[in-house]
Amino acid sequence: MNFILFVLALTVLYYLVPKKAQWMVLLLASAGFYCAAGLRAAIYIVITAASTYAATLAMGRVTQYQKQYLAAGGELTKEQKAEFKKRNTLRKRWIMVAALVLNFGFLCVFKYFHFALAQVNHVIAALGGAQIEDTFQLIVPLGISFYTFQTMGYLVDVYWGKVEPQKNFAKLLLFVSFFPQITQGPISSYSQLADQLYAPHSFTYENYAWGCQRMFWGFFKKLALANVLAPWVQAVFDNYAEYGAPAVLMGIFFYSMQIYADFSGYMDIMCGLCQVLDIRLTENFERPYFSKSIAEYWRRWHISLGAWFKNYIYYPIAISKWNKKIGKWSQKKLGRTFGRALPASIALVAVWLTTGLWHGASWGYIAWGGVNGLFIIFSLWMEPVYGAVRDKLGVRENDRWFRVFQVVRTFILVSFIKVLPEAGGLRRGLGLWKQALTAWTLPHSWGDLFPYDISRGNLAVVCLGLLMLLAVSLLQRSGPVRERFNRVPMLPRAAVLAAMLFLMLCFGVPASGNVGGFMYAQF
């Protein structure tokens, strides 16, 4: 309710103030939103913005000086110019590295300190030494993973000369702290988001209607699906050892649906809100459960994070001189196919270990990243074998049933991988896998499938919600669903929205206790 009132007040104010001041309203709203989560955390986001501001301005000055110097110094030789550019690039690199170390340093301390100390203690214990007491109380600032990645992306873009440094600190602070994306992303690039934030915007009914409809859909996914599924999934994670495989498999399926409804629901709410404000956020989902391979799945799930890793980790490693050398060496030794796959695999290992760590400081998440990376690398290496087997079996790649098989296979794989870190640690995650694969008995009763407290009314709403999700996903293949929805006359349209609101109200679980929060906010 508070959020809805906040959005209403923001929208009215945003369109009432002079257009030049709209970005200031967004900055104030972002500051209010962030400070509501704790004033102390706000210090770190300001430090991130300030250090990035100083670093990008310093890099900008180096670039400017270089341009002026080279324009003025016509008599310089080619070698002198190259030397001058090299020196300046080195200067900029040092500035960038300093800012990266500071900001990723904060991120590491807040997210990984306790985990790292625990590992050190394990080693000390193995050596028979005295343990270091973990008495530090670190409260992770809200959205630190998201805003650090977004800001560091901007820093690197300035270093690469892709974007000009922002000279107005308040405007940069808005880019860093823009509230709809601060807690769960998307991680937008500066070139995609910044201009929209600072540009003047006019109110249109279309933006309002489309934005509100998307928010409705997002709230429905969150309240009537994710929050209802949460206690059932938790029951399976907590008691999987006592449940048979059908119940555990059902829990794994429910978890896949829960996390999708939760995360994409949040994105729909925030993208809808931004659309009301005439701002388009980067899309983070593209029907991920219809992917035909794990690599494709990761191009369609949390798209902005994948893009960040691709731009700032995968490509820099893949095209680095040392990796190219490895590629040349491996092509000679292993042949063309495997020789090409090796440098990409090295970059993928780096990406997936970082992705695992980004999601959480635990061995479960590291293993989760590792398993994802392993599947992708394995597919990359085995591609020629797959092709040969397909040819031998006479299966065409675009055959509908083969595509259905690929989609179902990928869904099952990602569902299993997803639960690995979520059942309470790596060991329990592996235990859950084992239970799902070995404790097989055919379900004879309702209780065999749902051996926990489950209301049939809620189950009916979940089934209805999942069917709606499936229908919307299928319809999305042939264009935006809202475009078609808005062609329907107003009254039936209003009736559909009111029915969704009613279902949310009657069966949705409002935010409370361990059910309420958005799952991705913990990352």
Partner: protein, 344 residues
């Protein structure tokens, strides 16, 4: 301007459709099951005939049987009490009934938390019931806006819709039973009893918990408004405290402080106060093993006893007899004296 009109029209369309859905969902609850809504209909039918009103929260709702009172005093009474009824709600009900009835006596039931209970502590449940009893849309809106904070609008709608859906389900199963207000004139008896702890536990539990003793300004304001309303209309007011189980009196510390507030009120406004927890023969009249539904609500049979006792005390007072002798002076004195008496 065109944009604005379209926004308003579309928002209103959604709101209208939503209201129709909510209305359909909650309709059977209010019309068939909620005794608060039925109570509203009964009071409307009895308008112009009631001369004796009893108003309070759940303690009063479960204690005063108007049928017994009418037989004893020859009046036409109605029990206006409601579960978790707020002081603001009591004032609105009283104002409405005093306007349309020839009321000569109002009994205000004051439980130990009548002045201290707050919205923050007890939530919106009392408001849901109270709103179900109101039939004037303007008053309804006014009460709703003043009593329920916006942060609870969604939860309250959810709660009401859930009651409605539950009634639909019970209708489907054929389990809906009509409320009994027509026969009881507002009184809702507790049919069962729960044996309360005996005197062997009294000393061990003595003052192990403390009553909330912060008076809420709003409660005081509406109580004084009720008293002012009655004074202006020349209506006799009687303050009454219904019996709690003896073990409850031993557990909580602070009853005498609350008694002090009510005595002060009684003196200031010149209205008699009868606290049935100070009754000398309380243990015999309201036995611990069968007298109570729980620690604070009387069971049906003893609600009738209470109503008889109350009527008798009124008659004694009217005939000039000293009723003070029937009561102890303080809670401390009462509980210890009764324990001694029982042990002897």
């Amino acid at each position: 301007m065109r944009n604005f009109k379209r926004v308003v029209v579309s928002a209103l369309s959604v709101a209208l459709c939503f209201a129709v859905l909510v209305g359909t969902a909650v309709f059977p609850y209010f019309t068939m099951e909620s005794y608060y809504y039925q109570d509203n209909r009964v009071r409307k039918e009895l308008a112009g005939t009631i001369d004796f009103l009893f108003i309070g929260a759940s303690h009063g709702l479960r204690a005063m049987d108007p049928r017994v009172l009418d037989g004893r005093l020859g009046c036409s009474s109605y029990n206006l009490s409601g579960a978790m009824e707020t002081m603001q709600g009591r004032y609105h009900l009283l104002e409405q009934e005093v306007k349309r009835n020839p009321v000569s006596t109002v009994v205000i039931e004051l439980s130990y938390n009548a002045l201290t209970r707050t919205y923050e502590g007890s939530g919106f449940e009392g408001n849901v019931y109270h709103l179900g009893r109101m039939d004037n849309p303007a008053q309804w809106a006014s009460y709703f806006l003043s009593a329920v904070p916006p942060r609870d609008y969604i939860k309250m709608t959810y709660d009401t819709v859930a009651r409605g859906l539950n009634t639909w389900l019970r209708l489907w199963k054929g389990e809906v039973t009509p409320p009994v207000q027509y026969e009881t004139h507002g009184f809702v008896p507790c049919k069962e009893y729960t044996p309360q702890p005996g005197m062997e536990s009294f000393l061990d539990s003595y003052h192990t918990q403390r009553l909330e003793l912060d008076i809420d300004g709003e409660n005081q304001l509406y109580l004084e408004k009720m008293l002012t309303l009655c004074r202006d209309k020349n209506i006799q007011v009687i303050l009454v405290v219904t019996p709690l189980s003896e073990s409850t009196l031993w557990i909580y510390d602070g009853f005498d402080t609350v008694l002090g507030w009510y005595r002060e009120l009684s003196e200031t406004w010149g209205c008699p106060l009868y606290d049935f927890n100070l009754l000398k023969d309380k243990l015999e009249r309201y036995p611990q093993d069968t007298g109570f539904y729980d620690g604070s609500h009387l069971q049906e049979e003893y609600a009738a006893v209470f109503t008889v006792d109350f009527a008798q005390i009124l008659q004694m007072a009217q005939s000039g007899e000293r009723v003070e002798d029937l009561f102890y002076d303080t809670y401390e004195e009462a509980i210890h004296a009764r324990l001694e008496e029982a042990e002897r």
